[in-house]
């Protein structure tokens, strides 16, 4: 029964959703909204679960002085400070989300710069990844390098400046870059997307028909 009940719920829900897609008449047109509401309620309770898990796992690390326990102390303290200031509206009259409150001060001056810093790392990682990807080690890599050369140069003003003297417009770097993006790139993206759509349908059918049971344990 431990496996049969979840399989039954999955199958019934899946079939109802498929039917609802083709029936605009009530109550079928309200099913998606209804499930969305249920999902939001569950998600709200799941946040409590997430917070508890975060505290238990990190509290245990601190208690046991596990490797990197200092980071856990920072996590717990950061959480308690932000949650405390927000929940008890410390330093704010109405809402802690108003401008000028301690909560928003921490958000703008601690959280925001920290996330921006991690995001900014992307620039360096793009550089290192590009360096590896654009080495012409084989035919495919050489093709990638050539396409990247045209697209990158064609997307900046200097690309057009370099080739604007050519009377044939289709030889301008910006035209070549646009052509690469609009045709070979778009065609490849659409091919991948069609494959993804079929994959999603196939996975959904496997779950609805009860063929795929790995998420319940066993084959």
């Amino acid at each position: 029964m431990r496996r049969e009940i979840p399989l039954f719920i999955t199958a019934i829900t899946g079939v109802v959703f498929i039917i609802a897609y083709f029936i605009p008449h009530p109550p079928f047109n309200q099913i998606q909204d209804l499930f969305q509401t249920w999902f939001q309620i569950i998600a709200a309770f799941a946040i409590i679960l997430g917070v508890l898990n975060l505290m238990v796992v990190n509290g245990d690390k601190v208690y046991r002085r596990s490797k990197g326990w200092g980071y856990s102390v920072i996590i717990i303290l950061s959480f308690l400070v932000m949650a405390g200031i927000g929940t008890f509206k410390l330093g704010s009259k109405a809402s802690p989300l108003e401008e000028g409150t301690p909560f928003m001060y921490l958000f703008y001056n601690v959280y925001y710069p920290l996330t921006s810093t991690v995001f900014a790392l992307l620039a360096f990682f793009v550089a290192s990844a590009s360096f590896r990807a654009f080495r012409a080690r084989n035919k495919e890599a050489a093709l990638l390098l050539t396409a990247a050369f045209f697209v990158m140069l064609g997307r900046v003003p200097i690309g057009d400046y370099l080739t604007s003297w050519i009377p044939l417009k289709w030889l301008h770097l910006s035209t070549i870059a646009n052509w690469i993006m609009a045709y070979p790139n778009m065609a490849a993206q659409r091919a991948i997307m069609i494959g993804i759509a079929l994959g999603i349908i196939s996975t959904s059918l496997r779950l609805i028909l009860g063929i795929e049971r790995s998420y319940l344990g066993g084959d």
Partner: protein, 401 residues
């Protein structure tokens, strides 16, 4: 320099220019006054060919009204400012305005009606004065039990489901099915084995989406199979989660996999934990885990956004074997660049079935291949017919909303 306005030399040309300027200003003033003055007190011609009908393929309580624009809208005297839509429950009854549209628009949906009740409509062309179209009706609103615009989707779903069932049944009967090798999934055993030999943990990232995303569900099914191998190899699996619901499901999946492998004692719930629901805080946290724990193998399977390269490059720097799979088309190039193996789109969805090597699951992959073959044939046909402007064929595949 002489700065006086009326010097003898300057007077000569200013006498010519000033009257001309004054004339132009007067002309402009006259034009403005003329434009503002009412020149036409006649009402605009009324809208014609008004039709009112129950909005098709909807849940009901909605009537569509279409009309042909007044001849004074965009043409003729071009004086129409907009249209009022008037409704009454009887032909001779009191008509009330239920909506308005600007000039140039010739359709309106009245969503404030009740089902199965007679309504009559008129459309009024407005200027300073107005003129009404003839009354149309009665018309009733009702909900439909089938969306006719989605017939093509229904046909496709039926065909594809039939293909899946056919291949699954064939596989059950022992028919051998060839499935193209997926190098990324072939490397799972090697990756788990390597982690065991090195005595280092395996990191599994489920992506940054919620449980309602199919990519997350597909990733969870792969997690079940990977966790089983990890349990068999007696290695350590770390699953930091972005979403609390995904975390609880992942805990169940891994627990079941350990049970299935006969190693329930090795399961440690604290290895599947909630890290953060903030995108870059999560990325920073995972990067820290990779560098501190020196993970032997990293799996990135699910939905990813801008953090994909931050994670994959850090894993690359840490020297881990990396296997990625996603349906986020924009993130695929980053994974291809930084990971050892990347499951592109459909491969990601086929991975769980591929890992299981179970015939009935492989049957669904075979159906996927046949579905793709069918779509390729349709695309070629569509390209051919579109080249000759044979739109009927292309319109067959238009899905209504």
């Amino acid at each position: 320099m002489d700065t006086r306005f009326w010097t003898k030399e300057k007077c000569k040309w200013r006498r010519k220019v000033l009257p001309l300027t004054a004339f132009i200003i007067l002309l402009a003033l006259w034009g403005t006054i003329r434009a503002q003055s009412p020149v036409d007190t006649l009402p605009p011609s009324p809208p014609t060919e008004v039709t009112a009908f129950d909005t098709p393929n909807d849940a009901g309580k909605n009537i569509t009204i279409n009309w042909k624009l007044s001849t004074d809208d965009g043409a003729g005297r071009n004086i129409v400012k907009g249209y009022d839509i008037l409704r009454s429950e009887s032909q001779e009854g009191k008509f009330e305005v239920v909506g308005s549209v600007v000039a140039g628009i010739s359709t309106f949906q009245d969503d404030k009606v009740k089902n199965r009740r007679n309504y009559f409509y008129k459309v009024r062309a407005k200027d300073h004065t107005s003129s009404d179209s003839p009354t149309v009706g009665p018309v009733q609103a009702s909900g439909q039990w089938y969306h006719k615009g989605k017939t093509v989707v229904l046909i496709f779903v039926v065909i594809f489901t039939a293909l899946v069932i056919y291949f699954v049944e064939s596989a059950k009967k022992g028919k051998k099915l060839y499935v193209r090798p997926i190098p990324g999934m072939d490397a799972v055993d090697e990756a788990v084995g390597r982690a065991t030999e090195m005595g280092r943990p395996i990191l599994y990232i489920l992506g940054l989406s919620t449980i309602s995303d199919v990519a997350t569900i597909a990733s969870l099914t792969i997690l079940g199979r990977v966790a089983k191998k990890v349990a068999e190899f007696q290695s350590k699996l770390l699953v930091p989660c972005y979403n609390p619901i995904v975390m609880t499901v992942a805990q169940e999946v891994v627990k079941n996999a350990y049970l299935d492998a006969g190693r329930p004692d090795s399961y440690d719930e604290s290895n599947i934990w909630f890290l953060s629901s903030s995108q870059f805080a999560y990325a920073a946290g995972v990067n820290g885990i990779m560098l501190r724990e020196k993970t032997a193998t990293n799996f990135y399977l699910g939905m990813f956004y801008a953090e994909s390269l931050i994670l994959a490059e850090t894993g690359n720097i840490a020297g881990s074997i990396q296997i990625a799979g996603t349906d986020a088309v924009t993130q695929l190039p980053f994974f291809i660049t930084s990971c050892d193996y990347t499951l592109i789109g459909e491969e990601f969805y086929a991975a769980s079935a591929y890992l299981s090597r179970e015939p009935k699951l492989l049957g669904s992959i075979k159906a996927q291949d046949w579905g793709k073959a069918g779509l390729i044939a349709l695309i070629i046909l569509g390209g051919f017919f579109a080249s000759f402007h044979f739109d009927t064929f292309i319109n067959l595949f238009t899905v209504g909303h």
